[in-house]
């Protein structure tokens, strides 16, 4: 019934638009508005609000908040800082969305006409757009080539000249000294982007995209434009490219794909890494596991700081070592971030449960396994187990030495062993990154823990909290089940089948060729030849 009503409406609108177009000979902007309005109200108003002020019903559950279109502030433009975007700029953002935020891309869901009509409709929310002034895109130079010298120059400019490190930090992880105090034009706290995760850049992660953002700035955010610095002659356009190439080099060449399995590399002869910054870790491939806000049980958390962790693992047949690394600008609790914390809590306070902890809260990490290796496909509920199937957990937090082993049968039921700990931990925080290494014997005396098996996929899940982002308890980041697979030594028997296959094929080859030649000789065509001499 409802469907029929809306469809009727759309048909009526179209009919009116089409007849108007016929009458005037062309579609005027106003007719596009009707389609723009219908599409907007259906797909965008839930976040951006019916009146475009960014206060739709979904708005309170996200940071950055949906854009208020009445301000006409657009981050991703090809125009100079302070200028309005071109129509193509707005269309490009609607098509691609803004990675790293809740703003989705619409290219696959909406037709060309709908998306173009949306561009015109968005502009009607603000009086800054006018028909006489058409914004002009900047001229962008062609990309320069990147090499080691360019990257070194880029790094120097990043740290010393262009002052990027003041916000983004020396390693680019968003831990610069100004970062706790950054707010956007709407007075909302805004993190300086983590430059090691270019797949989450709002405007695209390639050097060309970065170069453009540096020239145009991200209007409405503290991220400045470098156009003035270039005009003033402090840096050249070529140097700007060097910065862009350097920033690009902070992220992996390709965005990490989804890996289900973390490989626990077998150390047969070499000793296992002995500390969190042991160089042996550099040789071990890491798997990136994405994390999401815990929005499954009450009270929920829609604004986790940690959006993914890198996990590496190794074992030597006796002991397993797991290192988890993730970006977090500070070691909580840190008084410098107290303001940030209370702002985030005030903005993201969900409507359920007790208010989050206002007292000092540490950063935390939990690595979770089933208590017993599952038989068949059954396993505990990924969110801290359930009554029937408990989980076994490793828990580390930044304000306590050591790590705890424990068990849980559902979130909030964690119980930790008081003595007889078999788990050791080594953690370090540097340049906006936590690295935490756990080691434990594969097999222990203890009944209440998991005995790690080699050569089988062991379910594993991870949970992380940034205390100074207002996170504790159920308010944090979660993952679903992944697997830890401790490599076996390649058994010698593995080579038997290939060797057999090789011998059989070779023998068959001899036979066939030999017979063919014999027949040929009998028919007298060739004199004599052995198959393989």
């Amino acid at each position: 019934m409802m469907a029929v009503m809306t469809r009727w409406w759309a048909v009526a609108v179209w009919f009116a638009a089409a007849s108007a177009a016929l009458a005037s000979g062309s579609l005027s902007a106003q007719d596009g508005d009707a389609l723009g309005q219908v599409t907007y109200e259906r797909w965008c108003a839930g976040c951006h609000g019916l009146d475009g002020t960014g206060d739709g019903p979904g708005a309170g559950y996200m940071l950055p908040r949906p854009r208020d279109f009445t301000q006409a502030l657009y981050q991703i433009r090809t125009t100079a800082s302070g200028d309005l975007p071109t129509d193509d700029d707005i269309l490009a953002i609607i098509d691609r969305g803004m990675p790293g935020t809740t703003m989705p891309g619409w290219e696959a869901l909406l037709s060309n006409d709908e998306r173009e009509a949306l561009v015109q409709y968005l502009k009607t929310f603000s009086r800054f757009f006018s028909a006489d002034e058409i914004p002009q895109p900047l001229e962008f130079s062609r990309a320069t080539r990147s090499n080691a010298d360019v990257l070194a120059e880029g790094e120097r400019l990043f740290r010393e000249v262009a002052d990027c490190a003041a916000c983004h930090g020396d390693g680019g992880r968003g831990d610069g000294e100004s970062s706790p105090a950054l707010v956007d034009d709407g007075d909302f706290p805004i993190p300086a982007a983590d430059l090691t995760e270019n797949w989450l850049f709002n405007g695209g992660g390639e050097a060309e995209d970065i170069y453009r953002r540096l020239l145009t700035g991200l209007d409405g955010t503290p991220m400045p434009s470098l156009a003035d610095v270039i005009t003033a002659g402090v840096i050249t356009d070529e140097q700007l490219w060097a910065i862009a190439h350097y920033v690009r080099s902070l992220s992996p060449d390709n965005p990490p794909g989804i890996t289900e399995v973390v490989r626990g590399v077998l150390f047969e002869d070499a000793p296992l890494p002995s500390s969190v910054d042991d160089e042996a870790w550099d040789e071990i491939e890491g798997a990136y596991l994405p994390l999401a806000g815990q929005i499954i049980v009450m009270p929920r958390w829609f604004h986790p700081r940690v959006d993914g962790v890198w996990v590496q693992a190794a074992h030597d047949g006796e002991t397993v070592a797991v290192r988890v690394s993730w970006s977090d600008p500070n070691n909580s609790p840190d008084p410098e971030w107290a303001d940030w914390k209370s702002q985030v809590i005030a903005l993201m306070q969900p409507k359920e449960g007790d208010p989050p902890d206002e007292g000092p809260t540490p950063d935390q990490l939990v690595v979770q396994f089933p208590m017993q290796m599952p038989e068949g496909m059954e396993r505990p509920f990924f969110l801290r187990g359930d009554n029937r199937r408990p989980v076994y957990i490793w828990q580390w937090q930044s304000d306590r030495d050591g790590a705890l082993e424990g068990e849980a049968r559902g979130i909030g039921t964690e119980a930790f062993l008081s003595g007889g700990q078999d788990l050791t931990v080594d953690a370090s925080h540097a340049d906006g990154q936590w690295q935490v290494m756990f080691t434990r014997p594969l097999v222990t005396e203890d009944e209440n823990d998991l005995d790690f098996v080699i050569g089988e996929a062991i379910p594993m899940a991870l949970f992380a909290w940034d205390g100074d982002n207002g996170e504790s308890g159920t308010r944090g980041a979660v993952s679903s089940w992944y697997f830890l697979f401790l490599e076996e030594a390649t058994p010698a028997t593995v080579f038997v089948a290939p060797a057999l296959a090789m011998i059989l094929t070779a023998a068959l080859g001899f036979l066939v060729v030999g017979r063919a030649q014999k027949r040929e000789r009998q028919s007298g065509k060739i004199k004599s030849e052995t198959p393989n001499s």
Partner: protein, 266 residues
């Protein structure tokens, strides 16, 4: 070049190669050009297809005596011609090595996740307990469809959806919310005709109310991130979000008369 293409062995090779291109890449990339969703086929299926094509080719070449003889001739020559001794000897070394490598890649220990077979739409229970009342799923109807204004139910459902569901199912209802990639199984796309379009509203009510934890074992409840919304929402809120889902995705719910078996394996 032309000479080789006129030869049946050359033609067979070309056909096989084109078939390979079509199966390995064409199936994945051509339909999207016309707006139809597609995905690459698994290697085992690819192998089957190629074997079928090879059999077809063999039937075609052996159908005609002369062609068959011509087809075999180069292979025969390699085996017997004294001038081709080097080619023959290298092939007799290379082929067994290739076979050995292929076997090795089959038997080598691999690091892989166990496959989970999961029934996407397992049979629902006969009745459920919802916040203290018992609901008979077999005869449960959406009460909002015969009460009040649909416009208002839709708006209410929209509010519920944007406050609770977009992070996973996406505001496009395409299962592409900004948290979706962190969960496995991935949140359902309601745009897909394999989901709510083939379910009754009472079934959807059960799935929303009881979430992942309410699934029977064949649905692998331990993996599902779908929350049990009975902990957050009232009965009317759930019914209104269901109205919103169908309306926004442009599907009609299934009715009890046309309902068959709702069971399917992923």
């Amino acid at each position: 070049m032309g000479k080789y293409l006129k030869h049946p062995l050359g033609q067979a090779g070309v056909v096989l190669f084109l078939a390979y291109l079509l199966f390995d890449f064409g199936i994945a990339y051509i339909p999207p050009l016309f707006g139809i969703a597609s995905a690459p086929i698994p290697n085992s299926v690819l192998l089957q297809y190629l074997i079928t094509v090879s059999v077809g080719i063999l039937i075609w070449v052996s159908d005609n005596e002369a062609r068959w003889a011509e087809f075999k001739e180069p292979m025969h020559r390699v085996m017997v011609d004294p001038d081709l001794k080097t080619a023959r000897n290298s092939l007799m070394v290379l082929i067994p090595i290739l076979v050995a490598l292929m076997t090795f890649s089959q038997v080598r220990p691999t690091v892989a996740a166990p496959t989970t077979l999961r029934s996407i739409h397992p049979a629902p229970p006969g009745r459920i307990d919802f916040q203290g009342t018992t609901l008979e799923l077999g005869s449960l109807q959406n009460p909002l469809r015969s009460r009040g204004s649909m416009e208002e139910h839709y708006e209410e459902g929209k509010r519920v959806y944007y406050e609770n569901c977009i992070a996973c199912h996406g505001d496009g209802l395409d299962g592409q919310g900004h948290y979706a990639h962190a969960f496995s199984p991935v949140p359902v796309s309601f745009q897909d005709i394999g989901t709510i379009a083939q379910l009754t509203e009472s079934y959807v009510f059960w799935r929303v109310a009881k979430g992942g934890p309410g699934l029977p074992n064949e649905g692998a409840p331990w993996n599902s991130a779908m929350p049990a919304w009975e902990d957050f929402l009232t009965q009317d809120e759930i019914w209104s979000v269901i109205i919103f889902l169908y309306e926004q995705a442009g599907h009609e719910p299934r009715t009890f008369e046309e309902e068959g078996g709702e069971g399917e394996v992923e």
